[in-house]
């Protein structure tokens, strides 16, 4: 993960679109909160500029 984020940063891509969270099967609330957090952040970031590109 650290590696992938570093690669994104180096290449000038948005590394804050990559997430990793360790959540065990018993941590239902943590899972829900995390997904919500990521969804909110992603909404704030707006659409991924790569999503519109056909030539990737």
């Amino acid at each position: 993960m650290a590696i992938l984020k570093t690669i994104f940063d180096t290449l000038g891509l948005e590394s804050d679109r990559v997430h990793l969270e360790w959540i065990s099967a018993s941590e239902g609330k943590k899972f829900a909160d995390t997904v919500k957090k990521i969804t909110d952040e992603t909404k704030q970031q707006g659409p991924n500029p790569l999503a519109k590109q056909w030539s990737i």
Partner: protein, 374 residues
């Protein structure tokens, strides 16, 4: 590093002296083979070869400034299934040495019985450029001296121009230029095995070599670091950001040459050539419909980012991938920049030391707290 023996010899005879020394080692049975570049029939290329007949050392070119294939890849082929049974001497450039050390840590090569001889490196040319320089009758010894004197040579492979690891470390013997005035070259034994092999070579004791060399290496390295940083800055302008990246890789024909020649990419079957990347027709249609158009073959950029993710922590910045690219994409320079950053995260330098574990093989409990939440 315990340095046991330092000698110096006339530089103008370097080729003959080194060949003669390797020949003696072979004749006396101190080594059973020598891996060294030999001149190929065209005369305009030199490739690594395994020599067992001492007479064949005549046609070798230990210092030809060309690296057709990384010796690390060759050593991996030769020693992965079974280590060498008897000593074999190997002549390497520093990036080849680092890749060999890296592959050993990744369990893809075995150093047993290898006598590693590495040289101070002023840089190499691509096979194409080397061939045309040979045709023009270039005096490579003169050129090398100019490079060691700090002159720039735009024809050198770009990674070499900014190579801050062009002084070997971790070998048995160094063939040295730094710390001398250019009329002599040095031979330094760092290990017992190296010292024994150097016993077969007579030369003047290199007094005060250690200090003179340390200062010269420091100056050379700082100079190279400055060039590397300038290259990184230029590259950042040119290739980073979504638009620049897509422009840079627009020339990519997905041939995977860059991966095939990379000494570090050792997987028998690349993940990107595997069944994971075989899809049914519907998938292509769906992807296309999502954007109205789909570049084919698919996943051009993903291949490069994937490769970076798999191996950039071990990239030795040897430049082989860039030499192999048919469309002159600065692959190695991009990998070097990415590798520099991913390796820095782990205070790691690929191939620097044998006893430094590769980042992904080791879990440190106290690392990288900022990633992955609490």
């Amino acid at each position: 590093m315990a340095s046991n023996k330092w000698i110096k010899l006339p530089k103008e005879n370097r080729d003959a002296l080194v060949k003669g020394w390797l020949k003696t080692l072979l004749e006396k049975g101190a080594v059973s083979g020598v891996v060294v570049p030999s001149t190929l029939p065209s005369g305009a290329n030199a490739a690594q070869s395994l020599i067992t007949d001492p007479a064949m050392l005549e046609d070798t070119q230990p210092f030809a400034p060309v690296m057709a294939v990384s010796t690390a890849k060759i050593l991996s082929r030769m020693t992965r299934l079974k280590p060498m049974e008897k000593p074999v001497a190997v002549l390497l450039r520093p990036c080849e040495l680092r890749a060999t050390i890296e592959l050993t840590k990744l369990k893809q090569a075995n150093l047993d019985n290898l006598l590693l001889i590495a040289m101070d490196c002023a840089g190499t040319f691509s096979v194409k450029t080397y061939a045309s320089l040979v045709q023009e009758g270039t005096n490579f010894d003169e050129m090398e001296e100019k490079l060691f004197g700090g002159e720039e040579e735009p024809l050198l492979r770009p990674v070499c121009q900014g190579c801050e690891w062009s002084v070997p470390g971790g070998c048995d013997i160094t063939i040295a230029r730094h710390g001398l005035d250019g009329t002599t070259f040095g031979l330094i034994a760092h290990t017992e095995r190296g010292e024994a092999a150097l016993g077969e070579m007579e030369g003047e004791a290199w007094e005060g070599g250690e200090e003179a060399r340390a200062a010269a290496v420091e100056k050379w390295t700082q100079d190279k670091i400055a060039k590397r940083d300038a290259q990184f800055a230029e590259l950042k302008e040119r290739v980073t950001g979504v638009e620049n990246l897509l422009k840079t890789y627009a020339a990519c024909i997905n041939c995977h040459n860059c991966m095939t020649v990379c000494p570090i990419c050792f997987c028998k079957e690349c993940f990107f050539d595997s069944a994971v990347f075989e899809f049914e027709s519907d998938r292509f249609m769906d992807w296309s419909k999502a954007r109205g158009n789909l570049r084919l073959p698919t996943d051009t950029l993903l291949f490069h980012i994937g490769r970076m993710n798999h191996m950039s922590t071990s990239c030795v910045a040897c430049g082989m991938c860039q030499d192999a690219c048919p469309n002159d994409i600065p692959v190695a320079q991009i990998f070097k920049m990415v590798g520099f950053n991913t390796q820095s995260r782990f205070d790691y330098v690929a191939g620097r030391r044998l006893d430094e574990p590769v980042p992904l093989a080791e879990f440190r409990e106290d690392e990288l707290h900022e990633i992955g939440g609490e």
